[in-house]
C-alpha cells in the first residue's frame, strides 16, 4: 500500500517556484494535482511557497477530493500570511459547505474554522449555521467543534449569532458522537468564558450518561471529563452517577478508565454509606493495577495519578504494593514514580519485602535511581518507627559496598534518621566515620559534619575529624562552611578544651574576615558574641532541643490534593500543580517566536520591528515552516503609516462609485500582457507601473474578448514590499465585446507593506461582475520610485561616495544592455529621474557618473562603464540601503536596454 510521494520532494534547483507556478496553471488536471503535491511537499520540508498563493487557490475549485484537501491544507498554512488573498477562497468554501457530499461539507467547515483570518470568519457564520443543523451526523460533529474554533477567534460573534444555543441543542442530538463533540466544545468555551456557558443540569446529566454508552472511546473521555464538574445534589444522586459510570472501569482504553476513576472519587466525597465507599474502593483497585500493564508512557501518567489517589484514599491500593516493584526493563521515569508510590504504600506489614526491593535497586546502574532508592530507605525509616532499625541495617550494608554515591546518599538519610530518633542509633557512628574521606558532595559532607557536631561528646576523636575538614574551609561550598561553623561551636561547647578552642578561633576568623558570604559572616558574628558574652546562653541556643521531623512523603496539602484529584488524568495531575500555574492561553494571532524565527532563518517574513504601526494585522506567520529560505536580501522595508481604506470590502462587492475611464492613453507604447485571454476566459489584461509628474500610476488596459459585456471592474493589490496600493477606485467603463479600455490608476506607496526582505513582486486581483476573480503577478520596477529632485551636485556626489564604506558598493555586469550613444542614454535615464553628473574616459571605455534618489532620501550613487556600441555594461552603485541593490540592478537593466 506504500506510496511514492517522496518523488515530490525532489526538486530542480533552479527556478523551482516559477516552474511550480507554471505547472499550477497547467490546463491538465493531473499536472495541476502533481504541482499542488509538490507545493505541499515543499511546504512540508519548510520551504516558503507562500508566493504561489494565488496559483494554488486557483486550483481549489475541483471535484477531486484529494486535491481539494491539499489546497485546503495549503490555505490553513498560508492564509495568515496572505489575509487579503485568502478571502478570495471564501466563495469556494461557501459553495463546498453546501455540496451534496457530506465529506466535502464537513471538510469545508472544518477548514474554514482553521483559517484564523478575521475577515474570513465573518463568512463562516452562515455555512456553520447550516452545518450545525445538517442531516448528516458527520457534518454536525465537525460543526460542533467548529463553534469552539470560532469562539477562539471571535467570541462575540459566537454569542451574537446564537451558536452557543445551537451547540447546547446538540447535547440532545440523537447521535452520540455529535453529543461528545458538542460537550468538548462547550467545555472549552466555558474554560475561557467568565460567564456560565455550560452548566450541567440533572436533565443534561442523564443525556450525557446515556450517550456515554454509545460514543467512541475519545468521546467517552470528553463526556466523563465534563461530568467531573458536576456536583451531585445528594448522596443518592452521587451513588446513581457512580453506578452509571462504574462499567467504564472495564473499558480497554486507559484514558476512559482514569476519567471514570476521577468521577467515582469525586462522587465518593458525597456518599455517606461506608459500605458503598468500601465497595467502590475495592472495585477501583484492579483497574488501577491493570493500568500498569499499559504502554510505559501511559503507565507514567497512571503512576503520577495513583500517587495522588493513595494520598487521598490509602486503602485502595494498600495490599497491592507488589505491583509497583520495578521491572528490569521499565524505563527510568517509570521506575522513579514506582519508587515514590512504594514509599507511600510501605507499612509495618510489608516493609521487609520493600526493603529487599530497595536494596536491590540500590545496586543498579542508573545513579539517580540508586540515589532515590537509598533515600527511599531513609524515608521509610522516618515514616515507620518500628522498621527504623531494619532500615538502618540495610543502609549500613549498602555503605559497606563502598560505592561512592551510595555512601554519600546513605549518610544524608542517616542524618535525617538521627534527627527523627535522637539518641537511638548512635552506635553506628563509628561505621559512618570510616567512609569520611570518600565524601565529596556538599550535602553529604554537611550531613556528616552535622552528625559529628551533634554527637561530639560521644565521638572520641571528634576534634580530629572536624579539624580534617577545617583545612579546606575556604574552598568549601557555603552549605558545608555553615555546618562546619556550627559543628565547631557545638564541639567547643561540649568539650571546652584547648584543641577546640583553637579551632573555634580559626573558624570564626575564617568565617568573619575571609569570606564574602553574608550568611556565613552573620552567623559567625552571632556565635562569637554569644560565646564572648555568655557561654551558657550560647549553650541554650546552639544545643537547643530540635523539633521532631516527620516523613514528607505525604507532602501535598489537602486543598491542593482535592484540586488535583478533580483533574485526574490531565496534565495538572501529572505535574501535581493546579492548572492555572502552567496553562498559558495564547490567542493565536501573535506568534512570539516568529520574528525571531524569521530573523534566524532569513525567510524574509519578519515584521520589521522599527517605526510606525502596521495598519493591518500582524500576520507574519508563514506557518513557521520555512527552514530553507527563498534567497532574498534581508529585510528593512519601511512600515506603513496607518491603516488604509479597506479595499477588500470594495472587491467583495461593496458599492463604490465607478466612474468611466476618461483618459485613455492611446499614444503610449503597448503594455506587457499579464493575464492572457486564454487564462482570463477571454479577458486580457496588460499593465505596467509608470511614473508621471511625480506620481506613480498603474497603467492598465483591459481587452474584452468574451461574447458579452463586462462591467463592474475592481482591482486589489496584495501587500508588497513598497506598500503600493490603489489611491483611487478603478475607473473602467462597461466593456462591449471586442473593445478595450486603458486607464491610469493612481497608486500610493507605503500603505500596505508586506514585511520581510524587499522583492519586486506585485500580486494583483481583478474582478468584474461577470467573471471569477483573476489573479496575476506583476513586477515593481524600482525606478518608478526615483524622485524628480534626485540630481546631485558633483561635490556632494564625491563627498557622499567617499563617506559610504566600501562594503556598500556593488557591481553588476548587465550583458543585455548597450549604450549606442551617450547623450541618448543620459536623456533616457534622466526621463526616469536618473541624473547625469559627470563622465570620463578610461581607455576605450566611457565612465558615467549618475545619481538617483528614492523617497525618504535614499540616494543611489551610480557609475556606469561601457564602450559605446558594444553590448555589455558594467554598473556599480553605492547606497546606504543595501537591500534595494538587487532591485536597483533590475531597474537599470530595464532602463539601459
Amino acid at each position: 500500500m506504500s506510496g511514492h510521494d517522496s518523488k515530490y520532494f525532489s526538486t530542480t534547483k533552479k527556478g523551482e517556484i516559477p516552474e511550480l507556478k507554471e505547472e499550477l496553471n497547467s490546463q491538465y488536471k493531473d499536472k495541476r494535482k502533481d504541482a499542488v503535491k509538490k507545493v505541499i511537499a515543499a511546504m512540508t520540508v519548510g520551504k516558503d511557497v507562500s508566493s504561489l498563493f494565488t496559483d494554488v487557490v486557483n486550483c481549489m475549485q475541483t471535484e477531486n477530493l484529494e486535491l481539494k484537501k491539499l489546497v485546503y491544507l495549503y490555505l490553513i498554512n498560508y492564509a495568515k500570511s496572505q489575509p487579503d488573498l485568502a478571502i478570495l477562497a471564501v466563495n469556494t468554501f461557501v459553495k463546498d459547505s453546501q455540496d451534496p457530499n457530506p465529506l466535502i461539507r464537513a471538510l469545508a467547515v472544518r477548514t474554514m474554522g482553521c483559517i484564523r483570518v478575521d475577515k474570513i470568519t465573518e463568512y463562516l457564520c452562515d455555512p456553520l449555521q447550516r452545518c450545525l443543523k445538517d442531516d448528516d451526523p458527520y457534518v454536525r460533529k465537525t460543526a460542533a467543534i467548529c463553534v469552539a474554533k470560532l469562539y477562539d477567534i471571535n467570541a462575540e460573534l459566537v454569542e451574537d449569532r446564537g451558536f452557543l444555543e445551537a451547540l447546547k441543542d446538540l447535547i440532545s442530538d440523537n447521535n452520540p458522537m455529535v453529543v461528545a463533540n458538542a460537550v468538548a466544545a462547550l467545555a472549552e468555551i466555558q474554560d475561557s468564558s467568565v460567564r456560565p456557558v455550560f452548566e450541567i443540569t440533572s436533565h443534561t446529566l442523564s443525556k450525557l450518561l446515556t450517550a456515554l454508552n454509545e460514543c467512541t472511546e475519545w468521546g467517552q473521555v470528553f463526556i466523563l471529563d465534563s461530568l467531573s464538574r458536576y456536583k451531585a445534589a445528594d448522596a443518592r444522586e452521587a451513588e446513581n452517577i457512580v453506578e452509571r459510570v462504574t462499567p467504564r472501569l472495564q473499558h480497554a482504553n486507559c484514558a476512559v478508565v482514569l476519567s471514570a476513576v476521577k468521577i467515582i472519587l469525586l462522587q465518593m466525597e458525597l456518599i455517606t454509606s461506608t459500605d458503598v465507599v468500601r465497595n467502590l474502593c475495592k472495585k477501583m483497585a484492579p483497574p488501577l493495577v491493570t493500568l500498569l500493564s499499559a504502554e510505559p508512557e501511559i503507565q507514567y501518567v497512571a503512576l503520577r495519578n495513583i500517587n495522588l489517589i493513595v494520598q487521598k484514599r490509602p486503602t485502595i491500593l494498600a495490599h497491592e504494593i507488589k505491583v509497583f516493584f520495578c521491572k528490569y526493563n521499565d524505563p527510568i521515569y517509570v521506575k522513579m514514580e514506582k519508587l515514590e508510590i512504594m514509599i507511600k504504600l510501605a507499612s509495618d506489614r510489608n516493609i521487609d519485602q520493600v526493603l529487599l526491593e530497595f536494596k536491590e535497586y540500590a545496586t543498579e546502574v542508573d545513579v539517580d535511581f540508586v540515589r532515590k532508592a537509598v533515600r527511599a530507605i531513609g524515608r521509610c525509616a522516618i515514616k515507620l518507627e518500628r522498621a527504623a532499625e531494619r532500615c538502618i541495617s540495610v543502609l549500613l550494608e549498602l555503605i559497606k559496598i563502598k560505592v561512592n554515591y551510595v555512601v554519600q546518599e546513605a549518610i544524608i538519610v542517616i542524618k535525617d534518621i538521627f534527627r527523627r530518633y535522637p539518641n537511638t542509633y548512635e552506635s553506628i557512628i563509628a561505621t559512618l566515620c570510616e567512609s569520611l574521606d570518600t565524601l565529596d558532595e556538599p550535602e553529604a559532607k554537611a550531613s556528616m559534619i552535622w552528625i559529628i557536631g551533634e554527637y561530639a561528646e560521644r565521638i572520641d576523636n571528634a576534634d580530629e575529624l572536624l579539624e580534617s575538614f577545617l583545612e579546606t574551609f575556604p574552598e568549601e561550598p557555603a552549605l558545608v562552611q555553615l555546618q562546619l561553623l556550627t559543628a565547631t561551636v557545638k564541639l567547643f561547647l561540649k568539650k571546652p578544651t584547648e584543641g577546640p578552642q583553637q579551632m573555634i578561633q580559626a573558624v570564626l576568623n575564617n568565617a568573619t574576615v575571609e569570606t564574602d558570604n553574608p550568611d556565613l559572616r552573620d552567623r559567625a558574628y552571632i556565635y562569637w558574641r554569644l560565646l564572648s558574652t555568655d557561654p551558657e546562653a550560647a549553650k541554650d541556643v546552639v544545643l537547643a532541643e530540635k523539633p521532631v521531623i516527620s516523613d514528607d512523603s505525604n507532602q501535598l496539602d489537602s486543598s491542593l490534593l482535592d484540586e488535583l484529584l478533580a483533574n485526574i488524568s490531565t496534565l495538572s495531575s501529572v505535574y501535581h500543580k493546579p492548572p492555572e500555574s502552567f496553562v498559558s492561553r495564547v490567542k493565536a494571532a501573535p506568534r512570539a517566536d516568529d520574528e525571531e524565527f524569521a530573523d534566524t532563518a532569513e525567510t524574509g517574513y519578519s515584521e520589521s520591528p522599527s517605526q510606525g504601526v502596521d495598519g493591518a494585522s500582524p500576520s507574519s506567520s508563514v506557518g513557521t515552516s520555512s527552514n530553507v529560505p527563498v534567497k532574498q536580501p534581508a529585510a528593512g522595508s519601511p512600515p506603513a503609516p496607518a491603516a488604509m481604506p479597506d479595499l477588500l470590502g470594495d472587491l467583495m462587492g461593496m458599492d463604490n462609485a465607478i466612474v468611466p475611464v476618461d483618459e485613455p492613453a492611446p499614444s503610449s507604447p503597448p503594455l506587457p500582457i499579464l493575464l492572457p485571454s486564454t487564462t482570463g476566459q477571454g479577458l486580457q489584461i496588460s499593465a505596467q507601473l509608470t511614473r508621471r509628474d511625480g506620481q506613480i500610476y498603474y497603467d492598465i488596459s483591459f481587452e474584452n474578448g468574451t461574447q458579452g459585456v463586462l462591467d463592474g471592474f475592481m482591482i486589489q493589490f496584495n501587500k508588497n514590499t513598497f506598500g503600493l496600493a490603489a489611491g483611487e477606485a478603478l475607473k473602467v467603463p462597461p466593456l462591449q465585446p471586442g473593445t478595450s479600455a486603458r486607464t491610469l490608476l493612481q497608486m500610493v506607496p507605503f500603505q500596505n507593506i508586506s514585511p520581510g526582505a524587499p522583492n519586486s513582486l506585485l500580486q494583483v486581483a481583478v474582478k468584474n461582475n461577470q467573471q471569477p476573480v483573476w489573479y496575476f503577478n506583476d513586477k515593481i520596477p524600482l525606478h518608478v520610485f526615483f524622485v524628480e529632485d534626485g540630481k546631485m551636485e558633483r561635490a556632494s556626489f564625491l563627498e557622499a561616495w567617499k563617506s559610504l564604506p566600501d562594503d556598500h558598493e556593488f557591481t553588476k555586469e548587465l550583458p543585455g544592455s548597450v549604450i549606442s550613444s551617450i547623450d541618448a542614454t543620459v536623456e533616457r535615464l534622466a526621463a526616469s529621474n536618473v541624473f547625469f553628473i559627470a563622465k570620463r574616459k578610461n581607455g576605450n571605455m566611457d565612465v558615467l557618473y549618475l545619481s538617483a534618489k528614492m523617497p525618504r532620501g535614499i540616494p543611489f550613487l551610480i557609475e556606469i562603464t561601457a564602450a559605446v556600441g558594444v553590448p555589455g555594461v558594467k554598473c556599480a552603485v553605492k547606497t546606504p540601503n543595501k537591500e534595494m541593490v538587487p532591485l536597483f540592478f533590475e531597474a537599470m537593466e530595464v532602463l539601459t536596454k
Binding site: A41, K141, W218, S226, Y333
Partner: protein, 429 residues
C-alpha cells in the same frame, strides 16, 4: 477541564520535523523542534525522559517513539494526558495499518495521506477517530483513486463505530485465541516477589453482516449468579477490560459478554489474575567468578507443569559480564550460545516436556585487567521465554460463543489456548 493539543509533530530520530499539523495556531514548529532537539541532546536518549515535558514558554510536550520517528504533541491547555498519549499510540497503529511500518521513509512516501489522516483523526486538537479499518474506507493510498467522491462511512458516527455494514463472507468463521502471559519476578533469595497472569482473548472474525455475539466463560461470578453447579473449574478474573464493542453496562448488570465484533482481528478482552502462580519453568544459576581470570556458570532449568504438556521454544537468557570472552558451553539438552550484543548466554530448548530438568554449564575467560574504580556491573536478571500450547494457567474456558445474524447463517468458532512467558525475570544473587 477541557483541553486540546495545539499541534502534532512527526519528528525524525534527531528531533527534526518531518511533518506537522497545526491544529490551533498557537505553537510554533521551530520552537518545538528546538526544544525537542535540545532535550535529545541533553539526555542522549529519549528513553530516559518522562513522556510529558514542560518548557518555560508555557507549552507542554508529550511524545512517544516508534522506530526512528517521534510522535509529539504540543499543548497549551490542561489536556487529558492519558488520552493524548494513548491517542499517539493509536496514530502509530493507524499509520502502521496504512504503510505496513511507520518510519521516516514511509512518512515521506505517503505524506499526502499522512496529512489527510491527521486531519481526520484529530480536529482542533481533540481526538476524533482512530479506527484504521474504517478510515481506510474513505482515505485511500491508491495512486489511482477513483475520481468519484467518497462519503464518510456510516460507522464513523454510528454507535457501532468499529464495523461497517454490508460485509460478506462465503464462509463465516471466528478464530478465538486465549493467550495467557505469565509475569513473574523472583528475587535473589529465590522468593517469588510478584507473579500474575495477563490473559487476552484475541479474535479474528470473518463474519457477514452485523452479527450479534455472545461469549460464555467459566466465570465464577456468572455461574454462581445463575445458580449453576460449577462443574469443572470456575475461575475468578481480577480485572477484565473489554474492547469498545462489548456492552459494558450489560456486563455490569448480568455478566453477559455481548457484542457486535469489528471485522478482522482485535483483542476482545484482557484480564488479569494476581494469584500466586508456581513458576512454570524454574531456573537456578550458580555463578562462580574466579577473579580476573574466568567465570563459571552452572544453570539448571526445571519444568514445573504436568507431564502431558510441553513447553516449546524455550529460551533462557543468563547474563554474563560484558568483558567475557572465549565461551565454552555444554548443555544436556538444546543448544546454548554466547550473545555478546546482549551481554548474555542464550540457551534454547525447542521442546521441554513437563517434569524434566536440564543442565547447562559454561565457562568464559575474563580479562586480567579491570578498571580500578569500575562502575558497578549492570545486574540483569535471568530472563525466560517459552510457550505452552493447549494449556492455561488460570483454567479459563470458553463455554460457548453464540453468533446470531439476521440472515441466519451458521458460523464456526475455533478456539485455541496457549500460555507464554511475559515478563519472566529471576534476579541473580
Amino acid at each position: 477541564m477541557a483541553g486540546a493539543v495545539s499541534a502534532l509533530f512527526l519528528l525524525d530520530i534527531k528531533g527534526r520535523v518531518l511533518v506537522w499539523r497545526d491544529y490551533r495556531g498557537d505553537v510554533s514548529a521551530l520552537q518545538a523542534e528546538r526544544f525537542f532537539t535540545k532535550l535529545l541532546d541533553k539526555e542522549g536518549d529519549a528513553e530516559v525522559h518522562s513522556p510529558v515535558v514542560y518548557d518555560d514558554a508555557g507549552v507542554t510536550y508529550m511524545f512517544i517513539q516508534h522506530n526512528n520517528v517521534f510522535i509529539l504533541t504540543a499543548a497549551r491547555q490542561n489536556c487529558n494526558a492519558a488520552s493524548i498519549l494513548l491517542f499517539l499510540h493509536r496514530v502509530v497503529d493507524v499509520f502502521k495499518h496504512y504503510f505496513e511500518e511507520l518510519e521516516e521513509e514511509s512518512l515521506r512516501d505517503n505524506f499526502v495521506v499522512v496529512y489527510e489522516l491527521l486531519d481526520e483523526m484529530m480536529d482542533f486538537g481533540y481526538p476524533q477517530y482512530t479506527e484504521a479499518k474504517i478510515l481506510s474506507e474513505f482515505i485511500k493510498t491508491d495512486a489511482y483513486r477513483m475520481e468519484v467522491s467518497q462519503r464518510p462511512p456510516m460507522a464513523v458516527t454510528n454507535a457501532v463505530s468499529w464495523r461497517s455494514e454490508g460485509i460478506r463472507y462465503k464462509k463465516n468463521e471466528v478464530f478465538l485465541d486465549v493467550v495467557e502471559s505469565v509475569n513473574i519476578l523472583v528475587n535473589s533469595n529465590g522468593q517469588i516477589v510478584r507473579s500474575d497472569v495477563v490473559g487476552a482473548l484475541k479474535m479474528r472474525t470473518y463474519l457477514s453482516g452485523m452479527p450479534e455475539c455472545k461469549l460464555g466463560l467459566n466465570d465464577r461470578v456468572l455461574l454462581e449468579a445463575q445458580g449453576r453447579a460449577t462443574k469443572g473449574k470456575a475461575i475468578d478474573l481480577d480485572d477484565i477490560k473489554f474492547h469498545q464493542c462489548v456492552r459494558l453496562a450489560r456486563f455490569e448488570n448480568d455478566r453477559t459478554i455481548s457484542f457486535i465484533p469489528p471485522d478482522g482481528s482485535f483483542d476482545l478482552m484482557t484480564y488479569r489474575l494476581s494469584t500466586q502462580v508456581k513458576p512454570l519453568i524454574w531456573v537456578e544459576a550458580q555463578i562462580e567468578k574466579h577473579s580476573r581470570s574466568r567465570i563459571e556458570l552452572m544453570v539448571k532449568a526445571r519444568s514445573q507443569f504436568k507431564e502431558r504438556s510441553t513447553a516449546t521454544n524455550v529460551e533462557i537468557e543468563v547474563p554474563v559480564p560484558s568483558d567475557a570472552t572465549n565461551p565454552n558451553i555444554r548443555t544436556s539438552m538444546g543448544s546454548a550460545a554466547y550473545a555478546p550484543e546482549r551481554d548474555a548466554m542464550v540457551w534454547k530448548v525447542k521442546s521441554f516436556p513437563g517434569g524434566k530438568e536440564y543442565m547447562c554449564r559454561a565457562e568464559f575467560s575474563l580479562p586480567s585487567i579491570t578498571a580500578e574504580e569500575g562502575a558497578p556491573e549492570k545486574k540483569a536478571p535471568i530472563r525466560v521465554k517459552f510457550e505452552i500450547p493447549y494449556f492455561t494457567v488460570s483454567g479459563i474456558q470458553v463455554r460457548y460463543l453464540k453468533i446470531i445474524e439476521k440472515s441466519g447463517y451458521q458460523a464456526l468458532p475455533w478456539v485455541r489456548y496457549i500460555t507464554m512467558a511475559g515478563e519472566y525475570e529471576l534476579r541473580l544473587i
